[in-house]
């Protein structure tokens, strides 16, 4: 019973601390919301967009901090602003979209880096960049819960339109819907989601939260509904395990959560029953081998 006790203790001991419950709550909510959105991000191919929005919020977060505003205010302004700016430059110049995205988000991130040097404490800087889920305030938790609820509610109402947009935007146009408006909606959801996850894993790693769960689930199923469920399951598990790991190893929570997600992706990449590398190799080998004598005689 010795090892079993150790395992039980590994999971129960941290829960004696109030801050662990709070950290767990924020990680799990952020993980779930990000995972839902990640399914559409993966299918559309918007990982660079996720990277862009998450980096572009830096100046907003720093300004909020310096002005004593809730972090979400500045982050949302700059998240939505970066998306709008990318759209405008994309439509009004000949530069290709990925170059526009790369230019706009690094520009905003650079402004953030300049502003950061105005922050007196290095600890706060680290928290902005890498998250500080073990030290979230009641106000932070309230912001995360409110924004998470908004994203999930909008997704619940609009998920069919979002999938239509991801699958065939010409058809959306042809039946009188506005692909442009759906794109704006999805980008808006992305901006809010990034801000939700900011508290959990920090600016640098947010992009993983909105890509990796969807990418992992995509390797495991061909059904969109299942993809949503798997992505949320993977992401929430990673949030819980990552938070425990960070407690026991006394290491950064964001890094731990994303590392667990990466492990899940690696497992799916290798061992997924239909789309994994190993299964595909085995199929190829079986196909190339001369047909074994068939008892049916065909």
């Amino acid at each position: 019973m010795e090892p079993l006790n150790a395992v039980v203790e590994w999971f129960t001991l941290p829960l004696q601390f109030d801050f662990m419950w709070r950290a767990m709550l924020v990680s799990v909510v952020a993980g779930a919301v990000c995972a839902v959105l990640s399914c559409w991000m993966t299918l559309i191919g918007w990982s660079l967009m996720g990277d862009a929005v998450s980096h572009a919020v830096l100046p907003g977060v720093v300004l909020s901090y310096l002005l004593g505003l809730p972090f979400a205010v500045g982050a949302l302004v700059f998240g939505a602003g970066s998306v709008a700016l990318i759209g405008v430059v994309n439509r009004t110049s000949r530069v290709k979209e990925d170059a526009v995205i790369g230019t706009v988000f690094t520009a905003l991130f650079a402004v953030g880096v300049l502003l950061v040097s105005k922050i007196p404490s290095q600890t706060d800087l680290m928290h902005i960049l890498f998250g500080n889920v073990l030290g979230v305030s009641d106000g932070d938790i309230a912001q995360v819960l409110a924004m998470g609820a908004v994203v999930l509610a909008v997704v619940l109402i609009k998920h069919r339109d979002l999938t239509l947009f991801a699958f065939d935007r010409v058809h959306a146009h042809a039946i009188g819907l506005s692909p442009r408006r759906l794109e704006t909606l999805l980008l808006g959801l992305l901006a809010v989601t990034v801000v939700v996850a900011l508290q959990a894993v920090g600016i640098i790693l947010v992009v993983a939260m909105v890509i990796v769960p969807g990418a992992t689930a995509y390797l495991l199923t061909d059904r969109f509904e299942r993809m949503l469920v798997i992505a949320v399951a993977v992401s929430v598990t990673a949030s819980v395990l990552g938070t425990y790991l960070s407690f026991h190893l006394d290491a950064a929570t964001g890094g731990a959560v994303v590392a667990v997600q990466a492990c899940a992706f690696a497992l799916a990449y290798l061992f997924a029953p239909a789309h994994g590398v190993i299964a595909r190799r085995l199929r190829e080998r079986a196909a190339s081998r001369p047909a074994a004598p068939d008892p049916a005689g065909r």
């Binding site: 239509l164 010409v170 042809a174 819907l177």
Partner: protein, 261 residues
């Protein structure tokens, strides 16, 4: 054949307007003139072949017809309505080229066909009984009922085309734009697609079918348009598909044994 599901296109009262009516359509991409003064009229219940090489402006014309691009000059009317109004009324369906669709996208055939109904649904697009019935009928008419639960990418090229046609039928569209429906489709499937197209025409729907494959055009099209940035010829397929005109549209360098010197 039984009559089709409810006709969403309100009757216009007096003389029926052409299903497709384009005049003087000119489209520029920067300095490139993609379409020049294109005129095209197709009466309801006809199949019109849109012939031309790659880059002749077929896809651009489709985009102008569904209002994806605004012509620099000219006008487009579908059943007497502007593209915007026609789209809002669900009159027009676009059947995409194979490569425009992500094969691996996790949607089933039934989901795709249901997307045809979105314009008729409430804001959450939750299907009601009428929607499910329209989808079932569209699947039946295209012979896809047994494949309804397959992922769209698991279908053959020809079956996939029929799935997108079924989406337009479920939508109740009157005008169908089919972009290269025979590309990457074997002969047998081609025949099935043509059967489906003929039955749709017999329901009074109108089909504009772009293709650069001329073999079957005379067989299934009621009329044809030869496009090479502008309209080189239009009329009955026999009149359009003359060696001289084809040489003009498809390039002089091509040796053509049928051509009389």
């Amino acid at each position: 054949m039984t009559a089709t599901a409810a006709d969403p296109a309100a009757g216009t009262g007096h003389a029926p307007a052409p299903a497709i009516d384009a005049a003087g359509v000119t489209v520029r991409y920067g300095d490139v003139l993609a379409l020049e003064d294109v005129a095209l009229t197709v009466a309801p219940g006809r199949i019109c072949g849109l012939l031309g090489t790659n880059g002749s402006g077929k896809s651009t014309l489709f985009s102008a017809l569904i209002g994806l691009i605004r012509p620099a000059r000219g006008r487009v009317l579908l059943h007497g309505r502007t593209p915007d109004r026609a789209r809002k009324a669900g009159l027009v369906a676009y059947v995409p080229q194979s490569e425009q669709i992500d094969d691996a996208f996790p949607v089933r055939v039934r989901d795709v066909v249901m997307m045809g109904r979105y314009g008729h649904m409430g804001p959450t697009r939750r299907p009601r009984r009428a929607d499910r019935e329209a989808v079932a009928e569209a699947l039946d008419r295209t012979g896809l009922t047994d494949l309804a639960h397959r992922r769209i990418g698991a279908l053959s090229g020809g079956q996939r085309k029929r799935a997108f046609v079924a989406r337009g039928i479920a939508q109740g569209a009157r005008v169908f734009l089919l972009d290269e429906p025979f590309a990457g489709v074997d002969k047998g499937s081609e025949g099935t697609i043509i059967d489906v197209m003929r039955r749709m025409r017999d329901d009074g729907r109108t089909l504009l079918v772009s293709t650069h494959d001329l073999a079957g055009v005379g067989d299934f099209c009621d009329e044809a348009v030869l496009l090479q940035r502008r309209v080189l010829a239009r009329g009955a397929p026999r009149e359009v598909l003359t060696p001289q005109r084809l040489a003009e549209a498809f390039g002089m360098g091509r040796p053509d044994p049928a051509e009389e010197a």
